[in-house]
Symmetry: D2
């Protein structure tokens, strides 16, 4: 069985690594803040010294960090992954990054005769814990095949989307649709409340119809109670909306609904809600008197 | 058992009346274009001569027409419902209309010592045929109680929302959320295609995640094939978006996502797509070269 | 010389009536709150008892009130203008109203064999005081000719635009463009400040370029100092944006920029800024920390 | 008198260089496509061999190219400006670029002990020809002082805005406001036409009021005739809107009007109008039937 490295043990990464360890895989972990490695080492993981060290000592190394900046740092920084890679090894970037960053990392990986796969995920804390993520893979097909077993542990659906950049692009599309749905949902709740309708009745009606979906079921009551335990941080959603709009700009695709939704997420960020769950965009949408 | 009148036999009304007849109810039908009454009379319905005649000869009369203008015409016009109402009779307005129109009709009904209930529905052609509509009732409680059996035949969920206007308001909220979801979805498909991703892969990924919903499943393939069999006409969706925005204006609730979505539905109307299904907003969103 | 009636002595009406009196015209005034009539009576105006009385005793009666609702009340209410009109008399509606309301008033006027002209104005407090309004006339051409002298006292440009409704429509177009410019301007100020640029430098640069205009010169410093003396109330601008969007809907013209701007004016209304100058939309646009 | 280099002889650069030559300055020119240098050499300019050669042979070198990508190429490319700079020389970047790119160029310039000034301009073809640009300078103050004479030949207003990045930021703010004004203007023209109003009447009314400005006067008739001679290419306006939105994102400033306007410019780009004047956004705004 391949020896797997896992870099980045935040909300998502820790849960994903735990599932791999619990499935009996041989995992070496590393995190910038070493405290977060401890619980996984207790579960049986090996502790790596640096990204370069993990990449050098494992067959395939997975990274799961918060944004393109962090992804570049872990790949290209001092003692970074690129330094540790060598012929035949694999690097699997599961962070949500823009296609351009993924291209650059991919080129650096290939320059070491190593193989690169991007595999961003759709799904936040709960699906990461439950092993029900959706995994959006693109890049080196042979590496995809070798990773399939691990992907099936971490997720419930894995799709192979072709060239590098396609996984990231799919992720951005999905999150952009999700962001637009969330602002439309919050506007609906605001209008319902302003019209004297109970939010519960709105949730029941929505759930009985054609747009019934798990996100409304989960987030509706949280919004009503204005309690926003962070599953997917608002600042990451806003970043993904921005990256999706930037990708659309490249292809001259106008996305007015997404642009309006993004303005609301930005307003929420300006209200210092970036670290709350993305449903906290509610605070930027509800009328002051509500 | 109460004798029921049914006015308006368009896509929705015909399906709803058919379900009532098939359930063994005593139904009198009327439609502006009398040809549409024929199939229902063949099923066992009685043919009414005018809205006034139906209202006079039935205990409770239901109306299901396309917009506030038509609802006013059928209520207040020559040989309209109001002329046929008398003490104790009931009038159930199931058309999607603005709260103000519903108030006016309700006042006219009560002025005849009759009872009024508004009960707009959420759901389009298929749920109307399948008897799985969501029914949003408000107004006279006693009439609601008497209608409950018929509502349960036409729908799978009926909620009683309080004063007149609340049913219409809930309907507008739900359709506004649906409209925003549809434009976000179409923008996502456009971005996916422009990025070289297959629409099928997008649909699979969306369906595996937190925003999985029946509308995406049904409309996605229709959008991909640019085939738009009319379940809910685009012009009616645009009207509902407009009414929702107007309701929000009254309460000073800004809804930027809905406003952007409405602009796309308007663009679609300007492309002569008003009679197509509302998913045809795709034609106004996709980039010219796609 | 014709005897002129003047109904509605708010910020705008009082200034316009004063100019007519100062020019030596024979003016009869009326206002719902009679206190506002006093300064004009002191200047030489006759005091009317009711809209009907003014319309009956003058050759031509002008109305200048705040919205379609008030315009309907003054025309159709008890002791309203319509009751006082008779053959050959003229009624000049200078309030900003929607085309439909203007049509209805015009029809009622013509039903009394009287003549109707709508003549909404572009320009707020200062141009009203200075007699430099822009007057947008439409309707009965003979009445326009008779009013030309009075229009030239109140305004610096008068255009005759054709059928009833065209004056109102032009007014809405102009105010919609103005509203969009104001929100774009405020967004620019917000971005400048957030980027560490002085608002004064921005104003100097804008004033030296192709988009230099009196509104930016006047409102810029007010916005910088967050002092908003009411020249054109924000709630009226928001109403005009709404009416313009509704007119656009009728013609299936999508106006995404106007829709986004309207959302900001609505947000400002929800912050209780409706009675401030429309430049107070700044408060709804500036980031919380600015 | 200082020897000046001028790199980039497109619409803007050629006009600016010509004014410097005509004022008797000693100018060395270079352009990627050497044909564009010829008319200026005929006017008396010296022909440079490469950006590095110009920078090495002149005291101060000015660059005026189309976007950040071109600005980086001319600075950092083979035979680029950086290679030619040495102690005490000056580099003046007049292209419209994002603050980050300007920072990077500035750092590279300072690493050669040379001085850097960014000085993007507001104004397009005509002001460039007439020497009435607005020049937005930031960076090394001593270099600003030495450039003042040349700036006064090219422009009618020069402001010094502080640290590197502030000139670019001001430019983006101004163009963003201009872009929002243009889409609001086009929406107004579309609504006027759909309402049966003549565009000429709208232009006259706008020009008599508080938002009268040179851009509406110049572009209005062009839009009406759908003739778009390129003064400021639409693709550059869209790029500036994008950069302004990106700058706003950094500072968490929501700009919904700008976001909506940008969607229209993007739609215009998708209609292959990128090389037309930015007023051609009209084609993306007007209703299909107009």
């Amino acid at each position: 069985m391949a020896k797997l490295g896992f870099l980045g043990l935040g909300i998502m990464g820790a849960a994903m690594a735990r599932n791999l360890i619990n499935a009996g895989m041989d995992i070496t972990v590393w995190n910038r803040d070493p405290k977060k490695s401890e619980p996984l080492v207790e579960l049986g993981a090996t502790l790596g010294e640096s990204p370069a060290d993990v990449a050098a000592s494992c067959d395939i190394t997975i990274a799961m960090v918060s944004d393109p900046h962090a992804a570049r740092a872990i790949a290209f920084g001092e003692h970074g992954v690129i330094q540790g890679l060598s012929q035949g090894k694999g690097y699997v970037e599961m962070s949500t990054i823009d296609p351009e960053t993924s291209q650059e990392i991919g080129e650096a990986v290939r320059a070491k005769d190593a193989r690169y796969l991007e595999a961003p995920v759709s799904g936040s804390k709960k699906p990461a814990e439950d092993g029900t993520l959706v995994i959006l893979a693109a890049g080196e097909r042979s590496l995809y095949n070798e990773m399939k077993e691990a992907f099936d542990i971490m997720g419930k659906l894995t799709v192979y989307l072709g060239d590098i950049g396609q996984g990231s692009a799919m992720k951005l599309v999905v999150n952009m649709v999700m962001g637009g749905m969330m602002t439309a949902f919050c506007e609906g709740i605001a209008l319902a409340q302003a019209s004297g309708l109970a939010a519960e009745d709105l949730f029941a009606v929505l759930d009985a119809g054609a747009i019934s979906n798990p996100m409304f079921r989960l987030k509706g009551p949280q919004i009503e109670q204005e309690s926003f335990p962070t599953a997917f941080p608002l600042k990451h959603m806003q970043k993904d909306m921005r990256l999706a709009l930037a990708l659309a700009e490249e292809h001259a695709v106008p996305m007015p609904t997404a642009a309006a939704a993004n303005s609301s997420f930005l307003r929420a960020r300006s209200l210092d809600l970036g670290d709350k769950d993305f449903a906290a965009v509610w605070q930027a949408i509800k009328p002051p008197k509500a």
